[in-house]
Amino acid sequence: MSYLEYNTRRMPAGLAKVLYVNWPLVALLILVASYGVVMLYSVAGGNLHPWAEPQLKRFAFGLVIMFVVAFVPLWLWRSISGLAYAVSVLLLLGVEFFGSVGMGAKRWLELGPLRLQPSELAKVTTIMALAAFYDWLDLKKTSRILWVVLATLIALVPTLLVLRQPDLGTAMLILLGGGVVIFASGVHWGYFAALIATGAGLVTAVLQSRGTEWQILKDYQYRRIDAFLDPTLDPLGAGYHINQSMIALGSGGWSGRGFMEGTQARLNFLPEKHTDFIFTTLAEEFGFVGASSLLILYMMVMGVCLLSALRSTSRFGALLIVGVTGTFFLYFAVNMAMVMGLAPVVGVPLPLVSYGGSAMIVLMVGFGLVQSAHIHRARLPS
């Protein structure tokens, strides 16, 4: 959608935009975030510090950002998509050369007092860039090989840069987020069949390369794979996280041990109890009722966004919504699968619930884009 297409008569403008905000989505996001605040209060032993209060403030800030992003006309976002993408790739390169090391990985870029995690930014900008790309591209050329390769490259560049940090979880999210947009744009099936076959080959290569000179992943990543394949092998070492997580989760039962009664997390059997493993604490304290209700809430967010995408006549907007929600889905699906022992332990937080700044703000920016697409969708003729 270009400015020329921007039909002021059919678009809400000014304060009227407030009426067109996707309010059910806002309500759902607040509900999800409140799960996070409650759980962070619990894992801190009934304390707003050190996690619950900052999380609450951050979410409030995130909501403000979301509305700001939402009220900006969609065509403006479309036109700066390429620039945003270029900036985030440059920042990723900056991390590669000037980044500071934390937890054995280079992820942060320190710009004066500001600590930036460009990999988080790249998640949104990659989706924006691809949505804009397909909006620009002639529909007939969508499945032409040259353009498919170009789209793939757009997704692959930030992915590889993040993978080098190394941050397997985020790299995967960027790649799959991009993949969702490419898929939604209508690229021919054959490419995806080929991709899956290639992926299978790559996995084999990764596993086969182990111990050789051209080993692809770091040792700790291989160990995580091992622990995933059989967590009981080394319950105190590599498989510890998954084992403890499964114990805590399973011991929750139907209705859980009760608020603040989760023993496993509070007694530090759970690693990263306030970040990646917060779902375990939820499942332990509120049982199946609490855990499944969060999953259902997430799926409702998905549903509301999908409806919005289906009703959007803007190609850019619809692709943007599908891309952002696809990434959102990957976040919680991978995280939940991880704590249930169905997926390897990769650092993927539970969206809007896990403690953590960058990821939440970036997600809220993403939902801001979704809202913007929703507000500025072309009214269907009534």
Binding site: S2, G250, F269, M302, A318, L319
Partner: protein, 646 residues
């Protein structure tokens, strides 16, 4: 790019189709997650819950307080002592070498102690407290507490450990405790989990071992919540254990002390039995040892010294020591002959100093012979030939039967370790063990308690008590504090006229001028005793030695000399105590054992105190007084034997 309406329509259709497809895919994944969640939280919840509890809850055993052991009057024989110790945790200490060095300066640790503590700490998980030093004085523990800031991770603690306030007095009876060993655990069918507590102590010998299940008590438990590294966060609940039961022995600590000191310097045993009940009043085996050494963990030089001592302090000679009873066995032979009607007891036998049986010459201890002797004189003067004759008349089977009836060759069921059955040799025994037929010479040897016959001092005391009471007295070491009435003891059914002869013979042994123990007689009224001496051959003097000029026992090395034995009961007319004494290699029963027997008997009749001089014949009193003064210095002062139980 400007799109036509058709293109827009197409784009919308494609995105809708693919979006719905993605949505369906996502719904499928979410469904899988939900299904897995349900499986874990509903179907396997119980299993995971159990795992979580195991993770979180740590059961700790609280060692029970060990039961106390008292003597018959309530004097404490085995107690629990407060024990100050210093424990240290690695994770709190930081630099353990530095802290240990400071601690060593404060309470004087040896390099060995430091090395052991270091090793224990590095071997255990960092939060496990390790005992660095035990049995510290109050001053030492206070200085550790005062310097706490300089000693991170170091905590002064108080525990209980076993101690034996009477030291060596009851070492062989009460025994001692020590740390549980692998062997101890293997010996038990279902070891109490409390035994797994580090440094928990178990009875290793004596009453401590045999009554361990009573004394041990039941462990309490404490459920604590631990975090992932095992640090205790809080106590969930606590079940106090049951302290071990207290035991009351029949031993009289005062008499026991006297008896042991009276044996001083000798390798000897003394047993005192209360005749009406069979209560063992004293069970002294000399030399003894300090059981407290074993509780603390005996040092190897100390232990070697005990092992290498030729007087064998670790052996409880009263129940474990096997001795040929010698002439103390003659009452058995005499009674066997009376029962067999082989003699009426008044008939006399001529003793020329020897007797030839089946081509072998058997000597009487008096080479010149006793002349004509009846049963009473044969007992009091200990004529061997008389018993050679009687044994041949009644035969070994009768002697075996009488021997068993008097309590020899039987293993008494006592709560102490290594109680021996002695040996009452029968024809059958010899066939089975020696693969040879019983010979008449064996009977002749057995008649005077030599040859194969072996008895423990306790058995000799029981025999004497049975002779004195005509009752089937059984020795008893544990007193039931609830038992008020005297025990009913079955009669032995020996004919009174037989026993009159035997008792007359034993009376004259001590109180007739020609009796072998006349010099050990008692003159005070109501305490006169009756007894029998015995001298049993350990090795006979060889021809070569005789030719080398060795004729007397004194010329032999100590360990080849004869054993000296004495049994007695007193008062002679109304027996209350029966006593048996064995002095290893004491050479002569009348010279070495009888005086000890007399003193211990008198002490038993006088409540365990040093006997009054008036009990002794006037000419002996000066010498005995001198002996008593020397003995009194060794005796435990009365305050050490105070009754501690109400």
């Amino acid at each position: 790019m400007k799109r036509t309406e058709r293109e827009k329509e197409f784009s919308h259709r494609v995105i809708s189709r693919r979006g719905l497809l993605l949505g369906g895919l996502q719904l499928g994944v979410a469904g899988t997650l939900l299904w897995k969640l349900r499986d874990m939280q509903l179907n396997q919840a119980e299993q995971f819950h159990l795992l979580a509890e195991e993770n979180r809850i740590n059961l700790r055993l609280l060692p029970p307080v060990r039961g106390l052991i008292y003597d018959r009057n309530g004097v404490l024989l085995a107690g629990n002592e407060q024990n100050y110790r210093v424990v240290m945790k690695r994770d709190d200490a930081g630099d353990i070498d530095l802290v240990l060095a400071r601690l060593a300066r404060l309470i004087g640790l040896s390099d060995e102690d430091i090395e052991r503590a270091r090793r224990d700490m590095l071997r255990n998980r960092p939060f496990v407290p390790v005992t660095v030093a035990e049995r510290l004085s109050w001053d030492e523990i206070s200085s550790v507490a005062a310097n706490a800031p300089a000693l991170p991770g170091v905590t002064p603690e108080m525990g209980l450990s076993r101690y034996y306030p009477l030291y060596k007095d009851t070492a062989h009876v009460v025994g001692y405790v020590g740390p549980v060993s692998e062997r101890d655990l293997e010996a038990l069918e279902a070891p109490d989990p409390v035994l797994m507590i580090p440094r928990f102590q178990i009875g290793k010998s004596g009453v401590e071992r045999m009554q361990d299940d009573v004394l041990r008590g039941r462990a309490g438990s404490q459920r604590v919540e631990v975090n992932a590294v095992g640090r205790v966060m809080r106590e969930l609940d606590r079940v106090e254990g049951t302290p071990g039961g207290n035991l009351h022995l029949t031993i009289d600590a005062k008499l026991q002390n006297y008896a042991l000191e009276r044996l001083h310097g000798q390798s000897a045993a003394a047993v005192v039995i209360d005749v009406p009940t069979g209560d063992i009043l004293a069970l002294a085996s000399g030399p003894s040892f300090d059981p407290n050494l074993f509780v603390r963990g005996i040092s190897s030089p100390d232990f070697s010294a005990l092992l290498d001592n030729d007087h064998r302090p670790l052996v409880n000679k009263t129940v474990q020591g096997l001795y040929p009873p010698g002439s103390t066995f003659k009452m058995v032979t005499a009674l066997a002959a009376l029962e067999d009607a082989a003699t009426d007891g008044r008939e006399t036998v001529f003793c020329p100093g020897h007797m030839d049986v089946a081509g072998n010459r058997f000597h009487c201890w008096r080479r010149g012979g006793h002349g004509r002797v009846g049963m009473v004189a044969a007992l009091s003067q200990s004529c061997d030939v008389y018993f050679y004759e009687m044994a041949q008349r009644c035969g070994i089977d009768k002697i075996n039967a009488m021997s068993a009836r008097l309590g020899l060759g039987i293993r008494y069921d006592l709560p102490i370790t290594s109680v021996s059955a002695g040996l009452n040799p029968t024809r059958d025994w010899k066939r089975r063990n020696r693969n040879a037929e019983w010979l008449i010479g064996d009977t002749v040897n057995a008649s005077i308690g030599q040859g194969f016959v072996l008895a423990t001092p306790l058995q000799l005391a029981v025999m004497t008590a049975r002779l004195a009471s005509n009752k089937a007295v059984l020795p008893r070491l544990l007193r039931d504090p609830l038992e008020r009435a005297e025990r009913e003891v079955a009669s032995l059914d020996l004919r009174p006229e037989w026993l009159r002869l035997i008792r007359r013979g034993m009376f004259e042994t001590v109180n007739d001028q020609r009796g072998t123990a006349y010099s050990s007689r008692v003159v005070s009224e109501g305490q006169v005793m009756a007894g029998k001496t015995g001298t049993s051959q350990v090795f006979s003097i060889t021809r070569a030695e005789r030719e080398a000029g060795i004729r007397r026992q004194e010329d032999l090395p100590w360990n080849r000399r004869n054993h000296a034995l004495f049994v007695d009961y007193a008062p002679a007319d109304d027996p209350r105590v029966a006593v048996a004494i064995v002095v290893e290699h004491g050479m002569g029963g009348s010279s070495a054992a009888a005086p000890i027997g007399r003193d211990i008997t008198l002490a038993a009749l006088n409540g365990g105190t040093v006997p009054p001089l008036s009990a002794y014949p006037a000419p002996q009193r000066n010498r005995i007084r001198a002996e008593q003064i020397e003995l009194e210095e060794r005796l435990r002062p009365p305050e050490a034997l105070r009754v501690s139980r109400a």
